[in-house]
Amino acid sequence: MLPPVYIERIFNTIHRFYNIEANCEASIETNPGTLSAPKLKLYRNVGINRLSIGLQACQDSLLEKLGRIHTFNDFLNALNLARRFGFDNINADIIFGIPGQSVKDWKETVRIVAEAGLTHISCYSLMIEEGTVFGDLKEKGLIQEMDDELDREMYHYAINYFANTGYEQYEISNFAKPHYQCIHNMNYWERGEYIGAGAGAHSLIKSRRYANVSDILKYIDGIQAKKPVLEEDTLLSLEEAIAERMILGLRLSKGVDLKKVSDEFGVDVGMKYKKSLDTLLKKGLIKFDGKVVKLSEKGVDLANSVFVEFI
């Protein structure tokens, strides 16, 4: 983890070169096991106003399985401490589909985070990826992905519970109290531009997507030589840019306003995707009122099948 002193330097540098809006959202990812009073104080001082805490689950046995260093109690302490330092915009990440996680465990986690007075909850279905601890166990046949039915039962339970406790689902995996949607992430889903700074950071500027090299030493060498080393650098075609716009936008509950996108790119998107939209509508995967396209309830569960139609 980056020592707090560097956070301070980064923010000072940003303030030196840019004019920052007064109530600009400034978020930081934190680990409940290592969050401390001095850190929180410093974050507050440099202008950070939103915390994201990687809770994952409320059962210590599951946290251990996930290889986390924190306990549920650490999370409660971190939350109290953060509030004491004046943070009121706080997100928690939670995960379902963990091997060994019961529906009862999940319901407990959902209830606890909903009652914790958070402004934002990110709720992810666990993906077992190669090269991770779970990936290795899966390869050895020691664990398997949770079956679809159970995974969806957990997901739908969370959606309902959060809706009943005042959270709006505004993206496939994200829930917020009114006016607390994450502005930073909304920018990704609406395909706004962004600059990523640091090793491995990604950027989108106009139609260029690029990523800094992940190896930190190579990154430093590049910066010092004033020749940044990139590990990805793609100039997107109009076609690809529109596809991205659709795919990212459809993740949002408010959907994609075709007129707006058509104006953005100077292409009649409704015409361009007419066949795909018809097919998806017939399959019941989208809702479309002639202006705005949204995923249907079924479409949210099968979003990839929708997205591939735009690729």
């Binding site: 099968l302 990839n304 591939v308």
Partner: protein, 603 residues
């Protein structure tokens, strides 16, 4: 009687089971006669197709001329005519044999005589060939040459005591074989003044020369400029080039005489006009009768071949046309399937022939193909008195219109060590075989003969035989006719729609088991889709087996933020690519593998 020129010629072939050393012996003979130096020699020059080399079998016959100086001080011309080593090419083998006066019979000193060897020995004896037995691989520790010599005498009834005992691999006693060829195999005869009769035993298409016919002149002579005629196809042409083949390449000559072996070109554009077994004669002075034994090669096994990518239909047609240039027995005609789109119904001599063509399409023409289950030709007597031949299950008439059906039957000869007799009998019984007999070749080995319906052999009989006998049994078969049978068409319905490419004809008693297996296999191969997919195996409207592919409920990437948009897009592209490789049948997407996997239900 052979004249003085003919006295110095020997025309012979080599008969051997796969792996018993035919090609290696051929190489040694060529090397010994100086036709080839070791340096020039690519291993096994006679087999010049890649697939042949990999499988260790020879598909197309070729003929090579060697010069050998005998111990009597005379120079002899030895023409080695290669023979295909597989049951599918039985007819071609018989034509090569008909071009010879003798055959070298190679038997492995450890393994003894095998089914295919025996089948070819009988062919050779039918054509009055002199047999020269040779016992190969005597250098191996497991060799038992004396017992094998006895086996040859017992089973074939020829003297084998003086058979050369060789190691083709190490070049041991090769000189002996050459001397024996001169001694045992008679020279050709045939009047060179008589009207021309030349037997075509092989032909291939050359881009520059047109069809090149390999011939054995039985009578008469031929020279450049002669006007010739194929006695069966009626095709006429003028000789532009003739000569003979040496391992170094073709040697031009100005004439060929009775008793000789060589090639003739005349700008013929299609191998169909130059069929193996046909007789070439002079157009203006024809022979009275063609040579006996001509048969038009008849395809016995059929299947549909489709391009995996529908837009490659034209490429597939071009490839098949090119293959056909060299393969008169390959048939194809366009067909359409609701499941696979546009493709071709193809006819083959047998299963191996089919596999070779499929492999060549994929390897040499770089095509991704999907094949349907192989079928044989059924004869159907309809209630209206009409009799039809059916090679595509899709075209089977309604059960009410069928009076009865007949299927082709083969006589299968299986040679095996006695310990596997039980397994083989079980297998043959499962495949509706009728036991004909069992004969002991030696204490530990027997020949089993069965009558088995061909449609039971074309699926995976070879594989099953191999796996149940640890590869020790060998098989040969020949079609013996048609027999009435209770046959039904088994259809597969996916989501209540029949998938034509998965239909096949099966014996009524086996339909239930087969239908169940197919349904199970399809359940494994068809991925979950957005809705539940019932898989049904049906005879007519009667469902005999049912499985269900459950609907998937979840297909979504939970996270997508600024840092992983490119990676997530790649995942979606991969998903789309996978979708493209699927065949849409009605509302169901079927992976290409599904069409292939149901072909091998026993393995």
């Amino acid at each position: 009687m052979a004249n003085k020129r003919q006295d110095k010629i020997r025309n012979f072939c080599i008969i051997a089971h796969i792996d018993h050393g035919k090609s290696t012996l051929a190489d040694r003979l060529l090397e010994k006669t100086g036709a080839l130096t070791e340096r020039e020699m690519d291993e096994q020059v006679l087999d010049n197709m890649d697939i042949e080399k990999e499988r260790g079998i020879t598909i197309k016959a070729r003929a090579v001329r060697m010069i050998h100086k005998g111990q009597d001080g005379e120079e002899y011309i030895l023409n080695l005519i290669d023979t295909p080593g597989h049951v599918d090419f039985n007819y071609e083998v018989s034509r090569s044999i008909a071009a010879c006066e003798g055959a070298v019979l190679v038997v492995d000193a450890s393994q003894g005589i095998e089914a295919q060897t025996l089948a070819n020995v009988y062919l050779a004896l039918d054509h009055d060939l002199e047999l020269l037995p040779v016992i190969n691989k005597v250098d191996l520790p497991s060799a038992r040459p004396d017992e094998i010599a006895k086996e040859i005498e017992d089973v074939i009834g020829i003297e084998a005591d003086s058979a050369p005992r060789i190691s083709a691999k190490n070049g041991l006693n090769i000189e002996d074989v050459l001397e024996k060829i001169i001694e045992v195999i008679p020279p050709p005869n045939g009047d060179e003044k008589a009207p021309l009769r030349a037997l075509i035993f092989d032909s291939y298409y050359d881009t520059y020369k047109g069809v090149v016919a390999y011939v054995r002149l039985m009578e008469g002579s031929v020279k450049i400029g002669d006007s010739l005629k194929m006695m069966h196809t009626g095709k006429e042409f003028t000789v532009t080039e003739l000569g003979y083949l040496t391992p170094g390449g073709q040697i031009q000559s100005d004439k060929l005489l009775a008793g000789e072996v060589g090639f003739i070109c005349g700008g013929i554009k299609n191998v169909r006009d130059c069929r193996v077994g046909d007789t070439i004669t002079h157009a203006d002075n024809p022979a009275a009768e063609p040579l006996p034994g001509y048969k038009k090669a008849v395809p016995m096994v059929f299947c549909g071949i489709y391009p995996a990518d529908g837009s490659k239909y034209g490429d597939l047609r071009d490839a098949l046309e090119k293959l056909q240039l060299n393969d008169a027995s390959l048939l194809f005609e366009p067909e359409t399937s609701n499941a696979l789109g546009f493709g071709f119904r193809c006819g083959f001599l047998g299963l191996l022939h089919m596999e070779i063509i499929q492999e060549r399409l994929e390897r040499e023409y770089n095509l991704d193909i999907v094949t349907t289950a192989p079928s044989v030709i059924y004869k159907i007597a309809k209630t209206n008195g009409e009799v039809i031949e059916l090679d595509n299950p899709t075209n089977m008439p309604e059960p009410g219109e069928i009076e009865h059906m007949e299927e082709p039957i083969v006589k299968a000869t299986i040679m095996t060590p006695t310990e596997f007799v039980g397994n083989i009998m079980e297998l043959c019984q499962e495949r509706r075989g009728i036991y004909l007999g069992m004969e002991y070749i030696e204490a530990e080995r027997v020949i089993l003969t069965y009558e088995i319906p061909l449609n039971e052999i074309i699926y995976d009989f070879f594989d099953a035989l191999k796996s149940r006998t640890r590869g020790y049994a060998s098989l040969d078969y020949e079609i013996i006719g048609y027999r009435e049978a209770k046959l039904v068409k088994l259809d597969i319905r996916l989501n209540n729609e029949v998938v034509d490419a998965l239909s096949f004809i099966v014996h009524a008693d086996k339909a239930y088991a087969r239908g169940r297996k197919m349904a199970e296999k399809l359940k494994e191969t068809i991925p979950r889709q957005m809705f539940e997919i019932p898989i049904q195996a049906c005879i007519g409207s009667k469902v005999i087996a049912r499985e269900t592919v459950k609907a998937y409920r979840k297909d979504v990437l939970a996270k997508c933020y600024g840092g992983d948009i490119s990676r997530k897009k790649k995942l979606l592209e991969k998903q789309k690519e996978g979708k493209k490789r699927m065949r849409q049948v009605g509302s169901v997407e079927i992976p290409q593998e599904a069409f292939m996997s149901v072909l091998k239900l026993d393995t």
